[in-house]
């Protein structure tokens, strides 16, 4: 009975240990997955997820949410969507952080209902304030996008006043109010709050400029030029919205009849910003138009003519770039400037093109989200092609290595060496046993454990004893053997005394050496066992590997071919879009050119009419 209980106890202890161990390994795998996820290494995170998937319960649910978020961030939103639907159907038990990541992706994709569903699963107490702010912003913005303005307003009221996320939510709400033709005190207060409670960071300042700009545009459209001017004046002169602000400020002044004040911002605009900017081009025609309004017709005519020349040279440059666009390396140059080597939506994409003539014209193109997505996709495909090429090469090297491992393993002579070592070890063990016997015997033996010197002395005593015995046998009267006999007995007695005195220390020393020898033999025994194990494990480094490598190599090659083809197609599509953009820009320039020429013609015509009517030209017109 006792025996049974002991066995049961041992068995249950082992089982508990195994379960604990499994749980801990799972924890490590989960932690590793989070590490890759949080440091932005999504492909590695996906690898980890595969191992994690085999487990059940809450972990698997959380894995679902995280996988959906990752697939979304890698641009694979359709698969993510199907996982998300599954999660909703079977309920969920994932962390708030996971839901936030998922909500973020849905929000980026403009899937506001799905984003709201994800946010509903977040527990505010589980998130840090920064993350919570983002979640609240997404919720408010989603409500706005879905037309539920009251809910959005309540949400914004409950958000911390001076957070950037609150500012962004207010910005979206202001846009919604403009779209709904709301006006009045509440709108003015909202704009005031939105621009006042913002953090003093670059992001905060840019957002303030943006809110001011959209407000100004709204007021300009509704004919409230003074209000528009007030907002435009509050904008910085070195932000991303400065060109639009300068242009609109000029028009606001024109609307109020303050023509001279309108010219200054436009001159500034033309001096400081790219001539291909639509705002700059518009201001080129705006300046002579205002001069006309000021009745400075000659100056207006001169500027129209200068503008026409300028537009013609811009058009020439555009045509030149457009003709050589397929051979131009602007796209490759842009890819080379990217510091982030990851692919997918999480990659930190720099949208500024390297500085040259082509990029000066195409920079406007990169402000379009669709084109940036296309360019990012092209870059992703390039990275994937490079990755596949690298892996193909590495797999080829692995095949060589596996072959070498197999060859080495088959030609390696291990067993005879192990057998020889085993025999030597057995012999050593026998010797040890013999020596232990010797130690045992030493208790009984008078001359036990002699040293080399003592051994010589014993031999000498033995030989002397034989000589004395021989002399005694001969027994001549002239020889007194008794003296030798007494002397021998005396020497023997002293020697025996000495050896006996040293016996205990000798036994102790001998025992110590035997213990050390025993330890060495045991260590060698373990080493031999481990070497046998290592020999048994060694085929695992090559057996069945070649077939696996070859299968994956074939897959890699096929995929690489597809990726290369898609890269070529992607570049071709981008070139077509860039050409369309350049054609559009050329048409815009043509329009401006036509307008300036018409104005020139009109001014000449008016001068002609005046000449016909009065018979004289002004001084300027004569020139």
């Amino acid at each position: 009975m006792n025996f049974l209980l002991t066995v049961l106890l041992i068995f249950s202890t082992n089982l508990v240990y195994a379960q604990n161990s499994e749980r801990e390994v799972l924890r490590l795998k989960k932690g590793e997955y989070y590490y890759h996820y949080l440091t932005g290494d999504f492909p590695s995170a996906m690898n980890q997820l595969k191992q994690w998937r085999s487990s059940e319960g809450a972990i698997a649910d959380e894995a679902d949410v995280m996988e959906a978020a990752m697939l979304l961030s890698l641009g694979l939103h359709q698969k993510a969507h199907s996982i998300f639907i599954e999660i909703q159907q079977k309920g969920n038990d994932a962390s708030s952080q996971a839901w936030l990541y998922l909500a973020r992706r849905w929000f980026e994709l403009g899937e506001y209902s799905s984003a709201l569903d994800s946010i509903e699963n977040i527990n505010a107490l589980d998130l840090k304030s920064e993350m919570l702010g983002e979640a609240q912003f997404m919720k408010a913005a989603s409500y706005i996008a879905l037309g539920e303005h009251k809910k959005a307003q309540e949400m914004i009221t409950n958000m911390p006043r001076s957070s950037i996320w609150t500012g962004l939510a207010r910005h979206n709400f202001i846009l919604a109010m403009f779209a709904g033709n709301n006006s009045g005190q509440s709108l003015a207060l909202l704009i005031e709050d939105a621009t006042f409670y913002l953090p003093d960071t670059e992001e905060g300042r840019n957002l303030r400029d943006r809110i001011n700009l959209i407000s100004a545009l709204h007021f300009l459209q509704s004919g409230k030029n003074r209000s528009a001017e007030k907002h435009l004046k509050n904008m910085s002169l070195a932000g991303p919205y400065t060109p639009a602000a300068l242009l609109q400020y000029g028009w606001a002044k024109v609307e109020q009849g303050q023509f001279e004040e309108a010219l200054q911002p436009w001159r500034e605009l033309q001096t400081r910003f790219n001539r291909f900017d639509p705002e700059v081009m518009e201001s080129m025609l705006g300046v002579p138009h205002v001069l006309e309004l000021m009745n400075a017709n000659t100056q207006a005519l001169n500027i129209y003519e200068m503008t026409a020349k300028r537009l013609l040279s811009m058009k020439g440059l555009l045509l030149q770039i457009n003709n050589g666009l397929a051979e131009n390396s602007w796209l490759e140059d842009w890819v080379l400037t990217q510091s982030d080597q990851n692919w997918g939506w999480q990659a930190d994409i720099e949208t500024t093109l390297p500085f040259n003539d082509t990029s000066a014209v195409l920079q406007q193109l990169v402000s379009e989200k669709k084109i940036v997505n296309q360019m990012t996709e092209y870059r992703d495909l390039l990275i994937l092609t490079e990755y596949l090429t690298e892996k193909e090469e590495s797999l080829r090297l692995w095949i060589t290595l596996v072959d070498k491992r197999e060859q080495d393993s088959k030609t390696r002579v291990v067993l005879p060496v192990l057998e020889k070592a085993s025999k030597e070890l057995i012999q050593a063990k026998i010797t040890l046993v013999q020596m232990q016997g010797l130690l045992q015997q030493s208790n009984e033996d008078v001359f036990a454990l002699p040293s080399d010197r003592e051994d010589i002395k014993i031999n000498l005593l033995t030989r002397t004893a034989v000589s004395i015995e021989q002399l005694m046998k001969i027994n001549k009267a002239s020889r007194n053997v008794a003296v030798y006999q007494q002397r021998w007995a005396r020497v023997k007695g002293v020697f025996l005394w000495q050896m006996n005195a040293k016996k205990a220390s000798k036994q102790w020393e001998f025992k110590r050496q035997l213990v050390a020898m025993d330890r060495l033999i045991k260590k060698a025994d373990i080493q031999l066992l481990e070497t046998r194990l290592a020999n048994r494990w060694s085929p695992a480094s090559w057996q069945g590997m070649k077939a696996k490598v070859v299968t994956i190599l074939t897959k890699t090659r096929a995929l690489k071919k597809l990726a290369e083809q898609a890269t070529v197609e992607s570049k071709a599509a981008l070139v077509v879009d860039s050409k369309d953009f350049l054609n559009g820009l050329t048409h815009r320039i043509n329009d401006y050119l036509s307008q300036s020429r018409l104005s020139i013609a009109r001014l000449y015509d008016e001068a002609l009419q005046r000449y016909v009517a009065t018979g004289e030209l002004s001084d300027g017109e004569q020139q």
Binding site: E24, L28, G31, E32, Y34, Y35, L38, T39, G40, P43, S44, M46, N47, K50, L74, G75, L76, K79, G344, E377, D380, L381, L384, Y387, L388, K391, L395, V402, Q527, E530, L533, A534, W537, A540, S541, M545, K548, V549, I552, K555, T556, L559, L562, A566, E569, S570, A573, D580, H587, N590, S594, R597, L598, A601, Y604, D605, A607, L608, Y611, V612
Partner: protein, 187 residues
């Protein structure tokens, strides 16, 4: 003079209007080509998505294969590093040696430390260890909660059997002594 003006005027007008007429002709072509391009872009995007999906799947296979090739299960030993709370210690680097060989060195970025603080576990390296007992020495360098440089040192033995060995080095806060300590666990 008048004739010159009239000529100029007619010339200007013809140039001014000639181009917009041309544009409207091109505009129709452009619209058609834009629609075609849109369809092509969509197709291309689907193709790129499918390639990305396949690359992810291939990447998983490659990852497993490389793990098997580099360290078969029988000799595999994975070393992990984690940080529990990290209130009393922020790691800058870690140095690990196994049997005074196979040095592992790692320098941490802010992003990585932040990930570790959020409960992530860093996979430091997969090692190949033969059967038997091995000695692990680890030195974690960083700063304590007072901003002073600190080193946490550990030396322990681990035993390798025929199953993969998991070793976790963990920096854990000890509230009682208001300090952090480096611990090791193995499975």
């Amino acid at each position: 003079m008048r004739i010159t003006y009239l000529l100029l005027l007619s010339l200007m007008s013809s140039i001014g209007f000639a181009e917009p007429v041309q544009i409207s002709g091109e505009a129709l072509e452009n619209k058609a080509s834009a629609n075609k391009a849109k369809a092509q872009t969509s197709q291309l995007s689907t193709k790129a998505t499918s390639i990305k999906q396949s690359v992810l799947e291939l990447n998983r296979d490659l990852y497993q294969l490389e793990e098997e090739l580099l360290s078969p299960a029988t000799t595999r030993a994975a070393v992990y590093f984690s940080l529990s709370y990290g209130e009393f210690f922020e790691p800058y680097s870690i140095n690990i040696t196994v049997d005074d060989k196979q040095p592992i060195q790692y320098l941490y970025t802010k992003r990585q430390v932040s990930a570790l603080r959020q409960g992530a576990v860093q996979p430091l390296r997969n090692l190949n260890l033969g059967p038997g007992v091995h000695t692990i020495k680890a030195i974690a360098k960083g700063i304590d909660n007072n901003g002073k440089n600190r080193e946490l040192v550990l030396e322990e033995s681990v035993e390798k059997h025929d199953q993969p060995l998991y070793i976790e080095l963990k920096i854990q806060d000890n509230k009682e002594i208001q300090s952090a300590e480096l611990l090791i666990s193995q499975w």
